[in-house]
């Protein structure tokens, strides 16, 4: 007894165009490679092509970059008293000790929690699709939607470093430079966003129909 007895468009021989969302009917003997959307001319695919391979590749790259992003300093402050090296975590601690804990919380969520949860959620989505899991598809689709929304917010620290670098150029008093961690952190943000973009949430639901056949 199938739990989701509804039919997808793909089962009816209809593919929706990735460019303009038009539903296109496929003739029985269609050459898959030669198909194009009649409205916008984009190539038609049943699902995003090589979705899992791309998503995995970007995710693994993001995990590798995540280590230097958190260990290397993202900001170097030259003062009379010496050079201060700030990693992402020490920036949060600095804000917290300075008494502005709401802001410390915002920065902590945006730069520590969000990238970590993004990586873990993508791992969860990719692994469950790989194992053809039938577990909580609705919640997993919602998780994916959330990933797309929060994705850009981890760029916060990059902007903060950029602004501080541009503003604090007071020759004698203090100058701020961006550290190598900033490059790695920027790469993590971009790579996790790419991974989420290439993932096709319809793969979560395809298991139900394949199993019911």
């Amino acid at each position: 007894m199938p739990r989701y007895p509804l039919k997808t468009a793909a089962r009816h021989g209809l593919w929706s165009c990735h460019g303009c969302n038009l539903l296109c009917r496929l003739p029985a003997a269609a050459q898959q490679s030669a198909w194009h959307c009649p409205r916008c001319g984009a190539a038609l695919h049943r699902r995003k092509p090589h979705s899992l391979q791309y998503a995995w590749a970007f995710l693994i790259a993001a995990i590798i970059c995540y280590i230097p992003a958190n260990l290397l300093p993202i900001m170097l402050t030259d003062m009379l008293s010496g050079t201060q090296r700030d990693t992402i975590m020490s920036g949060v601690v600095y804000l917290w000790q300075g008494g502005s804990w709401p802001l410390a919380l915002v920065v902590f969520i945006a730069s520590v929690l969000v990238p970590l949860l993004k990586i873990l959620s993508m791992l969860l989505l990719l692994l469950t699709v790989h194992w053809r899991s039938r577990w909580a598809p609705r919640q997993r689709t919602r998780l994916y939607r959330l990933l797309e929304v929060v994705g850009p917010w981890s760029m916060l620290d990059i902007y903060v470093v950029g602004l501080l670098v541009a503003l604090v150029q007071l020759q004698s008093l203090a100058t701020i430079k961006a550290g190598p961690g900033a490059i790695a952190f920027g790469a993590v943000v971009v790579l996790t966003m790419l991974s989420a973009m290439y993932f096709d949430p319809r793969l979560i639901w395809d298991v139900f129909e394949d199993d019911d056949e």
Partner: protein, 199 residues
């Protein structure tokens, strides 16, 4: 007939939906409500472009300490980073903060202006695809939060002056959010086809 773009469920949309249509299985939003008007989107995009210019020309924040004054715009930030051999980060800020949102606004203007006047713009499909690719990479709202965080970080070591650019960025994110929530590719395509048919 509609196919959900997140779970591919095929379903029929109700004829007169008052608040837009959501997918029956996964809850993804499929169609906007009937209040959609391309002219309103165009107004938002035009206002957005004007504010975008203000936001990038005037300084966002200024700093004053020991008689030295510095002020920066978003472009200045990217420039300063590039000076310090941080080209990847500079490029990232330049693209996500200035170039991609600006390009997206220009693309939307190119699409909406002729459609509102009843003409079909050339290369409609290519520009629509471009908007789709550009949209997730515009991060103006994240930049604004970044400005607030840096204001607090700097406030104890020097006098900070929020500039005209900051207020323009506030207006810009409101306008961008308004135009993004109204943007619907399916309706624009229908309008485009209607404009081509009547010509």
């Amino acid at each position: 007939m509609l196919a959900c773009h997140e779970c591919d469920l095929l379903q029929t949309a109700p004829a007169h939906a008052a608040y837009g249509v959501c997918c029956a299985r996964c809850g993804c939003r499929l169609l906007p409500g009937p209040s959609y008007q391309p002219a309103t989107s165009l107004a938002l995009v035009l206002a957005g472009l004007l504010v975008f210019i203000l936001a990038n020309v005037f300084p966002v924040v200024g700093l004053e300490a020991g008689g030295v004054r510095t002020a920066t715009t978003l472009l200045g930030t990217a420039w300063q980073l590039a000076q310090q051999q941080m080209q990847p980060v500079a490029l990232l800020i330049l693209l996500t903060g200035v170039l991609l949102p600006g390009l997206e606004l220009l693309c939307l203007l190119y699409l909406l202006l002729p459609l509102t006047l009843g003409h079909a713009p050339r290369g409609f499909a290519a520009v629509m695809r471009l908007v789709r690719i550009l949209h997730p990479w515009g991060m103006v709202e994240v930049f604004l939060l970044g400005v607030l965080v840096s204001l607090v970080k700097l406030a104890h070591m020097a006098a900070v002056h929020p500039g005209i650019g900051l207020w323009s960025f506030f207006a810009l994110i409101l306008l961008l959010a308004g135009s993004a929530s109204r943007f619907d590719a399916g309706l624009l395509w229908e309008r485009y086809q209607a404009c081509r048919a009547t010509r």
